[in-house]
């Protein structure tokens, strides 16, 4: 059995910032999710095979030609981008400073599974894809601003689009 408590030799070689976690709690004091922050999950009102699905991602994926996410601002970027769900992966790019992108540069689906979602739609697993997916970056140092602007704006867009399922995944 593999000892999952220890990084493999391969993963150790890929760790570009071995001291990263030594200061993470200092950089993000109090920003970890607490048990009392948990919000009850909404219940689906119809089978997922009849649902309209949108993908939410902190990956920093965005259509080429749109204003790049501001990856260097010391307090973060609270904007979002719409990524057409029928976009060709070659028309997308990543602006994100905080995670290794060598895997996603080879296959964007590892961080932004836009083609996998289309396959699920084509197979009838999900009803349909929303016209747009929504992306932003995860480096946001003001959780109140994040909640009151970015999260609200994305939520309003999802409601406007009458999305049934928002599949959210951190990068």
């Amino acid at each position: 059995m593999t000892d999952m408590s220890k990084p493999s030799a391969a993963s150790s070689e890929k760790q570009l910032r071995p001291g990263l976690w030594a200061t993470v709690n200092e950089r993000y004091p109090g920003s970890m999710i607490h048990k009392d922050d948990v919000v009850p999950l909404a219940q689906l009102k119809k089978p997922i095979s009849e649902c309209r699905v949108a993908f939410l991602s902190t990956s920093g994926v965005q259509p080429k030609g749109t204003l790049p996410f501001d990856t260097v601002h010391p307090v973060g970027d609270y904007s979002f981008r719409r990524v057409p769900s029928d976009a060709d992966v070659d028309d997308l790019e990543i602006h994100q400073l905080k995670y290794p992108t060598f895997g996603a540069d080879r296959d964007l689906n590892v961080i932004f599974p836009i083609e996998r979602l289309r396959e699920l739609r084509d197979e009838g697993v999900i009803g349909e894809l929303n016209a747009n997916h929504y992306t932003f970056i995860g480096y946001n140092m003001d959780p109140v601003e994040l909640e009151l602007t970015l999260a609200e704006q994305v939520a309003e867009a999802l409601a406007h689009d009458e999305v049934d399922v928002a599949l959210a995944a951190p990068a």
Binding site: G19, T23, P29, H34, D37, V72, H95, L97, V144, E145
Partner: protein, 101 residues
């Protein structure tokens, strides 16, 4: 509502208290991707790269610089300063960050 002491509050408190050491450490952690030692080197690297660009005294657009400094607000210029830092370290050819700008 999200609760608890957050990083931005920590920074604001440091500004109010004039805690320069805390602010410098934050900047070094930011530009050093979590390592204050790496951050200090990155800041030095940016300054060296800027110096190297000017050491042969090439022509520069001083009018643009003057117009920018006079025509833009303080926050925009501060924002530009961060952008220039990352521009210069990228230009140096030694990139320590996992992702890219």
């Amino acid at each position: 509502m999200i609760r608890g002491p957050m990083s931005l509050a920590y920074l604001k408190e440091a500004v109010e208290n004039g805690d320069q050491a805390a602010l410098i450490r934050y900047v070094r952690l930011h530009v050093g991707d979590g390592s204050p030692e790496a951050g200090a080197k990155e800041i030095d690297k940016a300054w060296v790269e800027a110096l190297k660009a000017l050491i042969t005294m090439p022509a520069t657009d001083q009018q643009f610089i003057d117009d920018t400094l006079k025509g833009q607000d303080h926050a925009t210029l501060a924002h530009l300063f961060f952008r220039l830092h990352f521009y210069l370290v990228k230009h140096s050819g030694e990139w320590i960050h996992d992702g890219h700008v």
